[in-house]
Assembly symmetry: C2
Homo-oligomer: 337 residues x 2
Amino acid sequence: MEALDERKAAILRAIVEQYVASAVPVGSATVTRTADLSVSAATVRNDMATLEREGFIAQPHTSAGRVPTDRGYRYYVDHLAGATLLAATERRRIAEFFTSATMAMDELLLQTSHLLARVSAHAAVVVGPQTEAVVVRGAQLVRLQPRVLLAVVILSNGSVEKQAVALAADASEQDVAIASARLAELLDGKRLAELRDVPTGPEDAAAALVRQSWDALQARRDPSHGEPLYVGGASHLAAEQEAFTGTTVSHLIELLEQHVVMASLLRELLGPGLTVRIGSENARADLQECSIVLAPYLVEGEPIGTVGVLGPTRMDYRKAQAAVTAISQQLGRQLSP
Amino acid sequence: MEALDERKAAILRAIVEQYVASAVPVGSATVTRTADLSVSAATVRNDMATLEREGFIAQPHTSAGRVPTDRGYRYYVDHLAGATLLAATERRRIAEFFTSATMAMDELLLQTSHLLARVSAHAAVVVGPQTEAVVVRGAQLVRLQPRVLLAVVILSNGSVEKQAVALAADASEQDVAIASARLAELLDGKRLAELRDVPTGPEDAAAALVRQSWDALQARRDPSHGEPLYVGGASHLAAEQEAFTGTTVSHLIELLEQHVVMASLLRELLGPGLTVRIGSENARADLQECSIVLAPYLVEGEPIGTVGVLGPTRMDYRKAQAAVTAISQQLGRQLSP
DNA sequence: GCTGGCACTCGATAGGCTTGAGTGCCAATG
DNA sequence: CATTGGCACTCAAGCCTATCGAGTGCCAGC
C-alpha cells in the first residue's frame, strides 16, 4: 500500500471522522469546511477522485458524497488515528472502578466487560485468563446426582473451576469423601499446567474416583471446552442497527451468546498488542460489516486474557482503541500480584 | 369483566391468533375465513364493533382491520388459550437436554435459559434458586489482594458462593489458614439459612478473620444483593424490533443486562403458578409493549426459583405458556433430590 | 338475528415533478 | 503544473397527486 501525500491523508481523515460522526456520505464541501486545508472544494474533489480510484473511499451512488471503504478505515487506523487518551471523565470512571473492585475474578471480568461497553459505546467482550499459571488453593468432590460428582477446584485468583464427573459405577459416600481429601492433597499448591501426569497411589475404590475426576479435569483443559467469556453491552448493537444491511443485529447478538464460537474467534485474532479487524478483513461472512478492536491483558509480561469491542465498521476507532488499551492495561495491573 | 358469548369469543380468538401470526390488522373477512363460524362477514362486523366498544380490540385507523388490545390478550389468555402441549420435537429437545445435563448448577441454569429462549422463540430469564435450603459442603478463604480475602462456599447442589472480605488489618498467611479451617468447620453440613447467630470461639487473630468473613457472607444474603440471574436469547428481541414503537430494543436488552433490576422485577411479579403480565399491566413504562410469562420451579413443593420469557405483547401466548410450564416443571424435577 | 349490498374512509402504493447536494470536467490563472 | 471558479450533469430524496383496495358502518330485506 502506497503512502498518501499529506493533503490526501488529511482529506481521508476528514472523511472518516465526519462520516463516523454523521453517518452521512461526505462531500467535498464538507471536507473543506471541516479540515483546515486552505484549498478549494474543486481541489479536494480531484484528490477524492484519486482516493476513490485507489480504493480508500467509495460513492454509494453517483451524486452522493464519499464513504470510507474498509481499506480507507484501515489506512486511517494505521496512519492517521494516532494514540489518543480517553476523555477525563472516562479515565476517572475506569480508575474508580478498578480501585473499588474487590470482587472475585469472574465477577470482576463481567463488570469489566460492562465498563468497556460503557466507555467504548459498543458491545464488549472479555475473555477470562487461562488458568494454567494459577495455583490451586483447594479442591473438593461434591455429589450432584447418584452417579455424578462435581469436582470443584478453587484457584488462588479467586476463580473456581467446576467439572462434572460421570461415574462408571456407584460410589459410597465414604469413598467420595476419601477421594475428595486425596484429590485436595494431590492438587493443593500445584499449578493447573502441571497436571499432566496421572496420579499414582493405592488402587482402591477411592483411587478410581480420583482418577476419574483427574481425567475429567484434564479434558476440561482442552481449548475446545472454551475459556470463560463475558459479554457486556450487547444493547449497543441494537442501537447501531442502521449500520447493518447484510446481516441482522439479531444474528450478531446470537453470535455473542455463543461463547464457544466467540472465544475461538477471539483466540485466532489475538496478536501481541492492540489488534483491529475491519469489516472484510474478518473471515466470517456475518462479520463483513463489523469491526473488532481487541488487546490482550498482561500479567508479568504474559498475556493471560483478552478484552475487545465489537461494532459496525463505521465506528470511532480512536475511541475504541483508547478504551480497549486503557481497560486492558488497567485490568492487567489489577490482576498482577 | 363480563364474559363474552361463544361467537364473540371465537371471533376474538381468531383475531388474536391471526394477528400474532401475521402482524397485520385482521378484518372481518379474514375472521370468517379463519374461524369456522358459519355466519357472514357482516355479522362478524357487528360483533367486532361490540368487541371494540368493550375494549377487547382496537382499530389502528379507520378502514383498517382490528388489533387486540391488552385487555383482548388478557381475555384470550384467561379464557381462550387453554393449556397446550408443545410440539413433539420441542418436547423431545427439552427431555434430551435434561437427561444429558450433568453440569453444575450455574451452568445448568444458563443453558436452561438458552433452551427456553429457543423453545419459546423469545428472550428468556432464569432466576437461580435461593440457596437457603442448601447444605454447605465446603468452605475456604483465599487471599485475593493483601487486604482482601475471598470466602468460597461450596454447596451441595454444585453451586459456589463467593464473597470478597475486606480486612480491617493485615493478616498473616498462617492466620488466614487457621481462619479458613475454622470457617470450614463452622459451616460444613449447615444450611445457609441457619447462619444467623454469630460464631463464638477463642478471641485470637484468626477469630477476627472468621468473624469478618461471617459478616460478609451474612451481608450477601441481603436480597438487594440479587439472586443469580441468567439471560438467554436476547437476540430474539432484536428480531422482534417492529413490535416496539415507544421504547427501543436497545433499551430492553440493556434492561435484561441489569440483573439486579430484572431480578427484583421478577420477584415482584412471581405468583404461585404460571403468571402472565401483558403490556400495560406492567408498571414500568419501558415494558408497556412487552409481555412477561413466568412460573416458579418447585423442589419438594417449594418454589426455589423462576423461569420466564420476555417478548412483545404480540406474542404466541399458548406457546410461551407451554414452554414456560414445561421448562419450569422439568427444571424442578431435575433439581429435586 | 342474520345477511347481502352499498357508500364511504383512508392508508398504502405508484408515478411524476422539483429540489439540491454532489460530482466530473474544463478552461483560465498564478 | 497544481489550483481554481464555473458549469453541466446525475440522481436520491422529498413532495404532490391519483389510484387502489381492504375494511368499515349502516340499512333494508329475509
